[in-house]
């Protein structure tokens, strides 16, 4: 170590370079060389670029693990950021961006904004990425300094790498913030399309990916963009091709049906590049196949004539073969079934067990899919069963069961062959399938009872699935042939009900037992009833999910066939939304303030006017007053009442209009009947100050407290009665009157109802969908559907904003999540869907406290309607 230090201080440049290399070498093998930090740092004062780069390499490493140490070098960075050599300027900016501590930001901003306007494209491109890095540490700062605007300018930069990085940085920020910083306007669109031709391959991918997120105004625009994108299909880089395919497929949806010619032409153009992807390295093939799997589900005609290219090669890796099989099943048709069957038969003789099984099951799936070819498929399956290879037979039995379920009573002739192979079956699924077949066709099999008997010998050791099937099959057998099987069924029922500790088995046993002993005819109807015919499941993704996934082609989603939120790791482990993964909640608050501050300075970067408070109405909770009693009942007083929460306390607001001819009214006593909320007045006295004179009116508030003794429990499953019965005594004349007022539930939301996003998702997911309540609130007052407004309004009522996100594939729609908690501790979760330009909202509410759900829902509805 000491020697190294000496060498680092050497005056000979070559020795110095060697020493730094040695330091880096020991650093990369995991040795701690941080004690040499200052020594290495000293070497940076050199005009030699090689040495400088080495020092930076060393620094970048420590910027990750020991950022405080690197801060020591910050002056060097700032100095180098205005070096005459563009390479060094870029190096300094790049390295500073990697130091993830807040303090670096104060040094970084100025050099960064200089670098963004640097004359050298290399520096500009490095700076563009650095903006994304800075956003990771201090998003507010990025917006404050207007860096996002500059990134927008970079899209029209003359240098393609700068454009690429500008787009990349904007997409990164858009993804991590959930905000539409990449908003594509007509002019941006033109810039992007122009840059598409100039860009590096990676830049093209970034541009295409952001184009895919854009929704063209109409079919014509979509067509125009497609035309510009189509040449990308001939790119050698598969990433470019895939992203171009994504853009084209998403836009094709918009072109509408009147354009069927154009669509057909496009369909023809898409096939060759997709097939070409299958000639790349196996890794790329795998990704392509997963995507093609989705594409053939969405638009089967693109590749309908290309089934041959999906035939497996002898030397394909297994993961490619498996995917190819999936696609073959999806593309199989009556035209090509013979060819496919020949292939599948070959596959069934290969070595790899998993692949063989999949091939066998594919043959059965073809039979289920194509009615006309079913017979041929079954012939092949029978041929394979003859080979007596254990796993082939088992797989064949499993899939033949499905064929029977698809075409009942058509192919029983093969049962005999199946029965010959009973002893090869040892997997539960295969056994269960075989037993199901025996039970279903007991009357056609002479020795059905004997066959079942052999299985019954080992009943207790079997897998539950097999036990269940055995039970059912025996009962079926008994119903069809009661004489010979009485004993057997008795024994099975005994075993199922008395000896088994599997609840499913026991319950099913009891049901059968009871059915058989009370009404054998009913048992027949139940057990031997017609079963629904199963359907072809090759196009098995839900259309809604498929549409989402088509929009996600060329992303990981398309590999996993899952929507992105189901696997993308967020810093806070999963949000229900796309946004905010880079900031935690505290940041959110700070961030709002930042926007307010900056809006005062006239910079409103994100068109978030709704968030800036200056010109906007403040929401304060008000009690919705309803007339609850007229003068005839209340002794010359007209009473309005409602509830409100203020400062964490709940008040009943009373407005008395004195319409009597008599005297002032001032003092009352109040009493509440037991109610569903446990509300009772904190103080029974109600005083109007000043007294209400005849002809005028006055308001007062009665503080309410929670008193469990006052709560009427609501039976589960019933909706809570929101009514609160009130008795008022006029202390002046001892006159008593009664009225009832409906509680407006929002006043009971407590201020501690705010939730962590993670907790929210957990809770949201944990509640059964049956407990969801829906409502559509239409005819809302105009301009009240701005989500920012709603958010603010709700916040005033302790309805806490959790997150918002655009609805995928539904332009202009956004969902917003809120949580609330009543003072009793009941929690409610709401999902509101808004559509731009429509004065309506959909409300979906979930809660464990189902009785109160209706109230919470109507509270939200009335709040949405209120100004």
């Amino acid at each position: 170590m000491h020697e190294l230090r000496m060498e680092l201080h050497s005056t000979d440049r070559a020795v110095k370079v060697d020493a730094v290399k040695k330091v880096i070498a020991s650093m990369t093998v995991g040795k701690d060389v941080s004690m040499l930090f200052t020594d290495v740092l000293n070497c940076v004062q050199t005009g030699n670029i090689e040495l400088k780069k080495l020092v930076y390499l060393y620094l970048i490493n420590y910027s990750k693990t020991q950022p405080e140490l690197t801060l020591l070098a910050v002056n060097t960075f700032v100095k180098d950021a205005s070096d005459s050599n563009p390479l060094i300027r870029a190096l300094a900016v790049r390295t500073m961006g990697c130091i993830r501590v807040d303090r670096i930001t104060e040094y970084l901003c100025d050099p960064l904004s200089r670098a963004l306007r640097d004359e050298d494209p290399y520096v500009r491109k490095t700076a563009a990425v650095c903006v994304a890095k800075l956003y990771d540490i201090a998003p507010d700062l990025v917006e404050e300094r207007g860096f996002i605007e500059i990134l927008h300018d970079l899209i029209s930069d003359s240098n393609p790498s700068v454009v690429a990085n500008g787009v990349a940085a904007l997409s990164e920020i858009a993804e991590s913030s959930g905000k539409d910083v990449m908003r594509i306007t007509a002019s941006v669109l033109q810039k992007l399309l122009a840059a598409l031709n100039e860009c590096t391959e990676w830049g093209q991918v970034f541009i295409l990916d952001s184009l895919a997120k854009y929704t063209p105004a109409d079919g014509r625009e979509a067509e125009g963009i497609i035309e510009r994108v189509t040449p990308r299909l001939q790119h050698a880089n598969s990433a470019v091709v895939m992203s171009a395919v994504k853009v084209i497929l998403s836009y094709m949806e918009l072109m509408g049906s009147q354009n069927s010619d154009a669509i057909r032409a496009l369909t023809r153009k898409l096939a060759p590049p997709l097939v070409t992807l299958l000639n790349s390295e196996p890794e790329i093939q795998y990704v392509a196949l997963r995507n093609i799997n989705l594409i053939v589900q969405k638009r089967p005609n693109i590749l309908e004539n290309e089934i041959k290219v999906f035939f497996c090669k002898y030397n394909d890796p297994i993961y490619v073969k498996m995917e190819k099989l999936e696609i073959i099943i999806k593309l199989v048709s009556e035209k090509n079934i013979d060819q496919v069957l020949l292939e599948l038969k070959e596959y069934a003789t290969e070595v790899d067990v998993d692949f063989v099984r999949k091939a066998v099951s594919a043959i059965g799936r073809c039979a289920v899919k194509l009615e006309r070819a079913a017979e041929r498929c079954i012939a092949v399956l029978l041929e394979l069963i003859q080979t007596k290879v254990n796993y082939v037979v088992q797989e064949a039995v499993i899939v033949i069961k499905d064929v029977f379920r698809r075409y009942p009573n058509r192919y029983e002739s093969i049962i005999a062959t199946l029965c010959d192979n009973l002893d090869t079956l040892d997997e539960p699924l295969a056994k269960a399938s075989m037993i199901w077949i025996i039970g279903e066709y007991a009357e056609r099999i002479d020795n059905a009872d004997e066959l079942l008997e052999t299985f019954l010998e080992t009943f207790e050791e079997e897998d539950p699935a097999v036990q269940l099937q055995l039970l059912t099959a025996t009962v079926k057998c008994f119903l069809k042939n009661p004489e010979d099987t009485q004993d057997m069924v008795q024994r099975v029922l005994d075993m199922a009900t008395e000896e088994s500790d599997n609840p499913d088995l026991r319950d099913r046993g009891f049901i059968y037992w009871r059915l058989l002993s009370t009404d054998p005819d009913a048992a027949k109807i139940v057990v031997l009833g017609d079963k629904p015919v199963i359907e072809d499941d090759t196009f098995k993704l839900e259309p809604a999910l498929l549409n989402i996934l088509i929009g996600q082609i060329a992303t990981l989603s398309s590999i996993y066939h899952k929507p992105p939120d189901s696997f993308v790791v967020r810093r806070r482990a999963g949000l229900p939304t796309e946004e905010d993964d880079e900031e935690d909640d505290d940041d959110d608050d700070e961030y709002d303030e930042e926007v307010r501050d900056s809006s005062a300075g006239g910079v409103d970067l994100l068109d978030m006017g709704g968030m800036s408070v200056n010109d906007h109405k403040q929401f304060t909770p008000t009690a919705p007053m309803t007339r609850v009693a007229g003068p005839e009942k209340a002794g010359g007083i007209e009473v309005f009442s409602g509830f409100v929460q203020e400062g964490g306390k709940i008040f009943m607001e009373l407005e008395f209009s004195n319409v009597s001819a008599g005297q002032d009214i001032s003092t009352f006593a109040i009493q509440l009947n037991k109610n569903a909320f446990g509300l009772s007045p904190a103080n029974q006295q109600v005083i109007f100050q000043p007294p209400v004179s005849p002809g005028s009116s006055g308001t007062t508030r009665v503080e309410m407290v929670m008193n469990p003794a006052m709560q009427v429990p609501t039976p589960n499953g019933q909706n809570v009665n929101p009514q609160i019965q009130v008795a008022i005594k006029n202390m002046h004349n001892n006159g008593v009157f009664y009225f009832a007022v409906n509680l407006n539930f929002e006043c009971l939301f407590s201020a501690d109802g705010e939730m962590e996003k993670t907790a929210f998702i957990e809770a949201w997911k944990s509640i059964d969908d049956r407990h969801e309540l829906y409502a559509t609130v239409s005819d809302l007052p105009a301009d009240s559907t701005s989500i920012e407004d709603v958010q603010q309004k709700f916040a005033a009522y302790n309805i806490f904003f959790i997150a918002r996100r655009p609805v995928p594939n539904a332009e202009g729609q956004e969902v917003v999540y809120f949580s609330m908690k009543s003072v009793h501790g009941m929690t409610f979760f709401a999902e509101l869907t808004f559509k731009r330009g429509v004065n309506a909202a959909k409300v979906c509410l979930k809660t464990e406290a189902t009785s109160y759900g209706g109230l919470a829902k109507s509270a939200l509805e009335s709040l949405l309607r209120s100004d």
Binding site: L57, K64, R94, M242, P273, K313, T349, V353, T555, V568
Partner: protein, 469 residues
């Protein structure tokens, strides 16, 4: 984009590793790559659990032995998605927590592999270890914050200051080495001037030369009666340029080249689809089938093409099988070379799997045509297959192999089915099946005294050349 990048040795040691995003998971990266390596080494996607004891032991053993079965993209328990490719035994990997484009990441990985090869001369563990500083320098320029940056060899040159240390290229193992078809030694030299391992600068004038390969890989599947069931050609034109001064080049292909199967045109060469490198200017391609480009340094693919459908297969295979007695099977494999007689197949290898555990003995005899180089055929009991090799297989000739297999139990359909398919590997130098030709390759502007050496090779290789038995 990507969170980290790493290169693992065939044994799973981390050779290079670079982190682009602060680890949100908190765990040390090295433990992650170790877990990752275990995962790809012992990929076992166990869906079928319950098999009898014997089956489990054999299949799981098999599963564990098979390398390269892990799909290139999967999620690890740490929540990150890992991508990887294998090159020369090395594993190049990356991980990401985002919904990134998998194509981009995989393409980036292969690009990195290519660049490392361009700069280090060879892509091997030793080369990377010796040149790790250079590699890190390259990585810093190629990826910033996880986003791909400069990935062209020639553009990188101006940012890279380290010099490569050349290691002796690892002698290629396997049977595809042939002086005629293996790349010239020059192809293994780095694109920038280098120091050899003993620290001396390599001296000598840089030759101005360019290597052009028209490489066609054949995928053919024959039925057992010799019919072609399926055939495709994956072709590409590859170049490796050491031209001084990076002049613009013009490359002309057959004039009557037709692209698109359904275009309705007729030509001597008809490809289904073609795609091109970024740098290629296609202005004159439609009219004159001429491409112009400034060749990037290092190895690059000018274009890829794909041909399906009928084309003359260079070799045809006719197998036949006779059951002489219940325990004796005679298999005859006749192979006919259908290319012109001035060409020959080199390093021909024919493999035929035999059923496991039932072959008692197998004897092979060959009937050779004249002009065949050293040929041999034998039954390799350890691998359960017949291996037949020929050094040279002249065009127009016919070769026959007769195998007499003695089984230790009577032959069933199942046993018969486990024989085959016949898999053939070969390469044919200076021949291509598609007839796609380079009409000329010349420097666009006339430069006096500039005569680069042009090395144009045509190579046809088998990719998957299989005949069912």
């Amino acid at each position: 984009m990507i969170h980290n990048f790493f290169v693992l040795s065939p044994r799973g040691d981390t050779i290079l590793a670079k982190q682009y995003r602060s680890s949100e998971m908190g765990a040390h990266e090295r433990t992650h790559t170790e877990a990752f390596f275990r995962k790809i080494q012992f990929w076992d996607d166990t869906k079928s659990v319950a098999e009898d004891a014997e089956d489990i032991s054999t299949t799981s053993l098999e599963n564990k032995k098979r390398v390269g079965d892990a799909p290139p993209v999967f999620v690890m328990p740490d929540g990150l998605t890992y991508f990887h490719i294998r090159r020369n035994g090395l594993v190049l990997g990356a991980s990401s927590a985002r919904n990134v484009s998998p194509n981009t990441v995989l393409e980036l990985l292969s690009t990195i592999a290519r660049i490392f090869k361009d700069y280090c001369g060879t892509l091997s563990e030793e080369a990377l270890r010796k040149n790790f500083i250079l590699c890190y320098e390259l990585l810093d320029e190629m990826i910033d914050f996880g986003y791909p940056q400069v990935t062209r060899t020639e553009n990188l040159k101006s940012f890279v200051y380290n010099e490569p240390i050349v290691v002796d290229s690892v002698p290629l193992t396997g049977n595809m080495v042939n002086p005629k078809t293996a790349s010239a030694a020059a192809v293994h030299k780095p694109v920038i001037s280098s120091v050899s391992a003993n620290g001396r600068k390599t001296t000598g004038q840089q030759n101005s030369e360019i290597f052009v390969d028209i490489l066609e890989r054949l995928n053919v599947l024959f039925s057992n009666n010799g019919y072609v069931l399926n055939s495709t050609i994956d072709g590409c034109i590859q170049m490796k340029s050491y031209l001084a001064g990076n002049p613009e080049l013009r490359l002309a292909l057959n004039e009557d080249l037709v692209i698109g199967k359904h275009s309705g045109k007729y030509g001597s060469v008809c490809v289904d689809d073609m795609n091109f490198n970024d740098c290629v200017n296609r202005n004159e391609f439609e009219s004159a089938r001429t491409l112009s480009f400034i060749p990037p340094d290092g190895e690059f693919v000018v274009l890829n093409y794909r041909i399906t459908g009928e084309y003359p297969t260079p070799f045809r295979i006719f197998p036949s099988m006779d059951e002489v007695s219940p325990t004796k099977v005679e298999i005859t494999v006749l192979i006919r070379a259908e290319m012109p007689s001035n060409h020959f197949g080199a390093n021909v290898l024919v493999e035929m799997p035999m059923p496991q555990g039932v072959v008692a003995a197998a004897s092979c005899s060959l009937i050779n045509a004249p002009g065949t180089g050293h040929a041999s055929a034998e039954y390799v009991a350890a691998e359960h297959k017949i291996v037949w090799t020929m050094k040279k297989f002249p065009g127009g000739a016919e070769q026959t192999m007769k195998v007499k297999v003695t089984l230790n139990k009577p032959c069933t359909t199942q046993i018969r089915r486990q024989m085959g398919p016949i898999n053939m590997c070969f390469e044919i130098p200076m021949y291509n099946v598609s007839n796609l030709q380079v009409r000329y390759l010349r420097v666009a502007e006339n430069m006096v005294g500039y005569t680069p050496y042009r090395w144009v090779r045509y190579v046809t290789q088998s990719s998957s050349y299989v005949c069912r038995l």
